[in-house]
């Protein structure tokens, strides 16, 4: 008997219908992009070649989808088995998040019908950071699908296949840790490649991969808390706060290292003066820092860690901070040269909202029909 079971219940709930409406509207704009092209649908230009389709859907979206990575690390590398009940929903969210990132990238590809070229080894350009990210993310989507496959196989009762897969799963779990480590740090390398276009407050050069990885892990753990909290309230399940409190401790360590590394780098690389420039970049940097400091103060006290509400405040604060960190570096303070500016167009925002809505709808349907969530214990 599996320890997991489908949630059951109605599919067509009010939130589901809300997201479905957004998704249906977005279909119109998606069609617009694919029929009339990127120029017609987006505000992208020669200076800002990457808009929200890359920065939100891929760069931030995959960090939001790092829940599976962060938990797999905790459970399988540090052998903290007690967190196992959180793994399946986290893997599902990661799968959906990464699939969304991969799908989102299509909107941003000028000649998307040539995407398969990236998989042909004789085309590979080994100097390209994007090649690493592209291949790695594609591979990770496959790995996540395999990691999630037991859930589906349990449902349809394919016992033989399930047994074989379970024997091989350790290999894919290992890959599932290696691949995000590689491409999440490469997302930092993208900023190195952008060089002086990146504002000095965000351009830490060779430390970009480290900061990218740390922020991805912070966001990954936060999203686990975020999802679990919403599941508790939305599906009226038992509170998982006691489990999440443990994660809070890990996050606290990550947060402090992130803030410490960033501050030390600011001093060592001689960019401290930028903090006193008093411009928009300074303000954004300070907002980010505050968003990262709020969870430090919340999580430092064990009482707060065991309070579900406070834990969620901390998680949301970190998610906003992490998202802002990436938005700031890639978009808000990017300086591609005189005369360029960018704000996403309505079709761009609608496409992104549509993709996110679809992701949430898929999550809602899958947890209700597949054994994803842990069977509640009866005390």
């Amino acid at each position: 008997m599996s320890a997991y079971k489908p949630l059951g219940g109605r599919i067509l709930t009010a939130p589901f219908i809300f997201f479905a409406v957004i998704f249906l509207i977005s279909l119109y704009f998606m069609a617009q992009r694919f029929i009339f092209g990127m120029g017609a649908a987006s505000n992208l230009n020669g200076g800002f070649a990457w808009g929200i389709w890359v920065v939100y859907d891929v760069v931030i979206g995959t960090a939001f989808a790092c829940g599976g990575y962060a938990l797999a690390f905790t459970v399988y590398v540090f052998n903290k088995g007690q967190y196992h009940p959180l793994v399946r929903p986290a893997i599902l969210a990661s799968l959906l998040g990464y699939a969304m990132g991969g799908f989102g990238a299509f909107f941003d590809m000028g000649r998307w019908w040539q995407f398969y070229e990236i998989f042909l080894p004789w085309n590979w350009n080994f100097n390209s950071v994007m090649l690493e990210v592209g291949l790695c993310v594609s591979a990770y989507i496959l790995v996540l699908a395999l990691e999630f496959a037991p859930v589906y196989l349990e449902k349809i009762g394919a016992k033989g296949l399930l047994k074989t897969l379970n024997k091989l799963l350790f290999f894919f779990i290992a890959l599932g840790m290696l691949l995000p480590t590689m491409h999440q740090s490469s997302l930092g390398s993208l900023l190195i490649v952008m060089g002086q276009k990146v504002h000095p407050l965000w351009q830490s050069w060779q430390f970009q991969p480290l900061l990218a990885l740390l922020s991805a892990l912070i966001m990954g753990f936060s999203i686990v808390i975020f999802e679990a909290s919403f599941s508790t309230v939305g599906f009226r399940r038992a509170s998982e706060t006691s489990l999440l409190a443990g994660l809070g401790k890990i996050i606290l360590g990550l947060l402090i290292s992130f803030l410490l590394v960033r501050t030390v780098l600011l001093v060592v690389q001689g960019n401290l003066d930028q903090l006193f420039a008093g411009d928009r970049a300074t303000l954004l940097y300070l907002i980010e820092t505050v968003l990262f400091l709020i969870p430090v103060f919340i999580l430092a006290s064990p009482v707060n860690r065991n309070d579900g509400g406070k834990l969620l405040i901390a998680a949301v604060s970190m998610l906003l901070g992490g998202a802002l960190y990436r938005f700031d570096a890639f978009l808000f303070t990017l300086n591609p040269g005189v005369g360029y500016s960018y704000f996403p167009s309505v079709p761009e925002i609608m496409v992104t909202l549509g993709v996110v809505s679809f992701e949430i709808m898929a999550y809602l349907v899958l947890v209700k029909t597949l054994p994803v969530l842990h069977r509640e214990e009866h005390a």
Partner: protein, 378 residues
Amino acid sequence: MAEKEFDFSEVEKRLGVSRRTFLKFCTGVAASLGLPTSAAMAMAKAVADPKRRPPVIWLHGQECTGPTEALLRSEQPSLAHLILDLISLDYHQTLDAGAGHQVEAVKKKSMRENAGKYLLVIEGAIPVKDKGIYCKIAGETMLDLTREAAEHAAAIVAYGSCSSWGGVQSATPNPTGAQGAPQVLKGKPVVTIPGCPPNPANFVGTVLFFVTYGKLPPLDEKMRPQWAYGRLIHENCYRRPHFDAGRFANEFGDEGHRKGYCLYKLGCKGPETYNNCPSLEYNNIGGGVWPVGVGHPCFGCSEGGVGFTKPLFSLADLKTLTPPNTFPKIQDRQKTGGLSAGAAALAGAAVGVAVGASAVTVKKLGDKNSSGSGDQQD
């Protein structure tokens, strides 16, 4: 300051160049080597002092004598004079006045008398197939002659691509098994000055350094002097701004080619060839005399594994950035961006919904917390 002014009148007479021209040349060489002006003076003194002239044995293997020809045709002030005066050239098949067994005997004698002191210069590849019978001088194979001369040499310099890594002879299918001197003389340090033909300035600079300081200049892992081969041609090329801006010649004679754009797409191997051609050009003739200067892509003559190996017009492997196919136009910058009211409202609404939903959840979780864990069955 108090030092007595060095007397260059002897040099003036010997070389037939004015003191001013001579010092200018030494300063130029020192500058190429990245050395201070004081080094130029030291070099000038070393050249002027006839007692310090090292004996040189110069061997020719499989080659076209390009390196020697290049050296002799140099337009630098009496460079041939200078180099011949700077050293005591005891044996050189192209330049020796004598011939036959007599000259071979002189070589053997010089090598015996100057054992451990002479400079060995090797020009041309060394065939090793069938015990090296494909290149013989005075009945002995080049292979044996090279090993014999290397035995007691103070320093060994491979001059030209052939002796540095095999050159054109070693191109597939390499019927004679031609190899460079470093491959034949394994275990012995062989300074290489590759190029087809090599720039004489790179040779003279290295030899002057050796004569002046009694040691070799800093070398890279292929034993090339770093001052000459430390940078890719691509790094110092004066067509580089065109590369970075995406302006390429796509065909010989097209508009880009006529305007002097980057030759990367015509197969220029500058991005993978280490040499100082862009800064020194060739033989001080000036006027852009070197392949890229006259509109032909670099073919990597000095780089083993590139020159005579890769097809002439195939794209080079870039060690740094690969250029995109197109670059943004400068003139359409002013039209970019544009924040519409609808977009701002939409973005605000999306963030608002996310934060609002979180706030409601926080409140509900808080209620749950305060009511204890009794409602688990709900």
